[in-house]
């Protein structure tokens, strides 16, 4: 039995403790609101990571599922006075079905063809949200109905409760992703990413596995979207269901590190903090977009496994194993 925690575990626990007590040392709402953004983007990227990272199916329509969670929350709470917590099953259910429709339409395609098809699906969802304006208020968007601080309505006087909610939601997505990767479907999905033809020839039902992973990723995204909407207080198709948001979610995961449990978390903090910092520095002149694009290019060229790979042990073990094998053969 291990007597002591490993250094890695101690670092993780230390970071969690720091995160939990951090608001005690910060005055004002600005820093906290940026961190809440980081947490929610990390959570959204973690959801994307299930299908985009572990499955290698680069989807650019995840904003659709975030929007479904967000709209389920605001429509039910504003029009029917139902707590956002009870809107979760609705968002999850619609996302599950939408993912099935998108999956059936796109999973016969591969690589960039699949990605382009998901862009079209995401845009179709955005247009549909705009079209059904009697329910969704169309392009005008919806504001949260604020009736004072109320936990069950997810309305607060400052962003500190959202900060803790963000941590909980992020840890939930990390836990679900971890459990998924250790499940049979998780293993099959990784095999499909490795070689789809070989996986199928060995008995893995490729379409079924991809669809299951996509649906899980979509449902989880809608949960994050529900809480993220309450933090934003305003949602609209051009922001919450946009291609820009889908891309940002994917980029956060790619920069942090795909197919890695903590990569999207690292990416969430690096990308969002960088965007905030450059926005302050460059203002609205588009300089921040340039830096953001530059970061993506640098990561893809020099560290395609993402920034998290900087913290991984090197490949010395592989070489050692191969040398040992050769010696035994000799």
């Amino acid at each position: 039995m291990k007597k002591y925690l490993s250094l890695k575990s101690m670092i993780k626990i230390g970071l969690l403790v720091v995160a939990l007590i951090f608001p005690l040392f910060v005055s004002g709402n600005y820093v906290i609101s940026i961190l809440v953004n980081c947490l929610f983007f990390a959570a959204m990227a973690e959801c994307w990571n299930i299908i985009g990272g572990y499955g290698g199916q680069v989807s650019w329509c995840h904003a659709s599922f975030v929007a479904i969670g967000a709209y389920s929350n605001f429509i039910l709470s504003n029009d029917f006075g139902i707590t956002p917590f009870l809107s979760l099953p609705l968002g999850i259910g619609i996302s599950f079905m939408l993912a099935a429709v998108i999956g059936h339409a796109t999973f016969r395609l591969h690589g960039p063809y699949f990605s382009v098809a998901t862009i079209a699906c995401g845009e179709a969802v955005r247009v549909l949200i705009q079209y059904f304006d009697k329910i969704t208020k169309g392009a005008a968007g919806i504001y949260v109905s604020y009736k004072g601080a109320d936990f069950w309505a997810l309305t607060f006087e400052n962003d500190i409760p959202f900060y803790y909610l963000g941590i909980i939601v992020l840890l939930l997505t990390v836990l679900v992703t971890y459990l998924f990767t250790k499940s049979k479907t998780g293993y099959y999905l990784s095999a499909i990413k490795g070689d789809e033809t070989a996986a199928e020839s060995l008995g893995i039902e490729v379409f079924k596995v991809k669809l299951t992973a996509f649906q899980l990723s979509a449902m989880l995204s809608s949960v994050v979207g529900c809480f993220y909407a309450s933090f934003l207080t305003y949602i609209a198709p051009t922001s919450t269901a946009s291609f820009d948001l889908s891309m940002k979610i994917g980029v956060v995961a790619i920069v942090g590190g795909v197919a890695s449990l903590w990569g999207p978390v690292v990416g969430g903090f690096i990308v969002i903090l960088l965007i905030e910092a450059t926005s302050v520095f460059f203002g609205a002149a588009g300089g921040s977009q340039m830096i953001y694009g530059l970061l993506l290019i640098v990561v893809i060229i020099f560290k395609p496994e993402g920034i998290i790979a900087l913290f991984r042990k090197n490949n010395a073990e592989d070489s050692k194993n191969m040398e040992l094998d050769k010696k035994e053969e000799a």
Binding site: A191, A198, S201, N321
Partner: protein, 244 residues
């Protein structure tokens, strides 16, 4: 010893090219049957039709006494016990050697059983030392062994080995032949598609020869390989292709 695979009147064309024409052959349970022929003779196409990658234009494939419907997909054929390797090995390069096998073992077993089966296969295929190595970093020989190891995890009755000797040096070839014998000893029937004639003579009990999509002849490997028609079709000369 019954018939495991029975191929009747199998044909397929791609555009105007008749890749396989009216092919008939069978494999008995426990046999190691060689399927040989010059490049473009239809060997891999035949394997692809049995595996479900290509749908034949005509003909029947009977496996274990049952006709395999043309519509049956690749994964379901694998579940019946029809496994195959590829000319170019296709490891799941993002996974370790252990996880490559464990993932497939999970298809038919619970987690703990899958672990045991994976360990047994690692020992059988002599990949135990490389269990934690990333499969993308393996040598060609070990990649081919990993392909075989993964097929073993599917609980196969039949393994179609597509040019497992290609690109190997003589020492690697000997080791690979030992592995194939060990796999056959486990009661697994082997369809051995190969260009290396020494290997064919060494492990196969029977051989069939394809030429231009048609069955040219069949029989005991050494006899078949010395058949003048086969020599002419295969090598275009009169050399003893058995290597004597």
């Amino acid at each position: 010893m019954g018939t495991l695979l029975d191929v009747n009147d199998l044909s397929i064309s791609f555009g105007g090219i008749k890749a396989v024409q009216n092919l008939n052959f069978h494999i008995d349970t426990g046999e190691v049957l060689a399927l040989i022929g010059p490049n473009g003779s239809g060997k891999s196409t035949t394997v692809n039709m049995i595996a479900g990658i290509y749908i034949p234009d005509k003909g029947i494939i009977k496996y274990d006494g049952h006709v395999i419907p043309n519509k049956m997909d690749i994964a379901n054929r694998a579940k019946l016990g029809i496994a195959r390797t590829f000319q170019t090995p296709r490891p799941f390069a993002n996974l370790t050697v252990y996880d490559n096998i464990y993932t497939i073992a999970l298809l038919h077993n619970k987690y703990t059983e899958a672990k045991e089966i994976t360990n047994d296969i690692l020992k059988l295929t002599k990949l135990d030392n490389l269990r934690n190595t990333n499969s993308g970093k393996l040598s060609i020989e070990k990649r081919k062994w990993l392909d075989l190891a993964r097929t073993m995890a599917t609980r196969p009755k039949l393994i179609m080995m597509d040019e497992v000797m290609a690109g190997l040096n003589p020492a690697e070839m000997e080791a690979s032949l030992d592995l194939i014998r060990a796999i056959n000893k486990e009661g697994i029937t082997v369809l051995f598609i190969e260009h290396v004639m020494k290997a064919v003579v060494s492990v196969c009990t029977r051989a069939i020869v394809l030429n231009q999509g048609k069955l040219l002849c069949e029989g005991e490997p050494r006899e078949v390989l010395n058949n003048p028609d086969v020599v002419a079709a295969y090598l275009g000369g009169e050399t003893d292709v058995a290597g004597n």
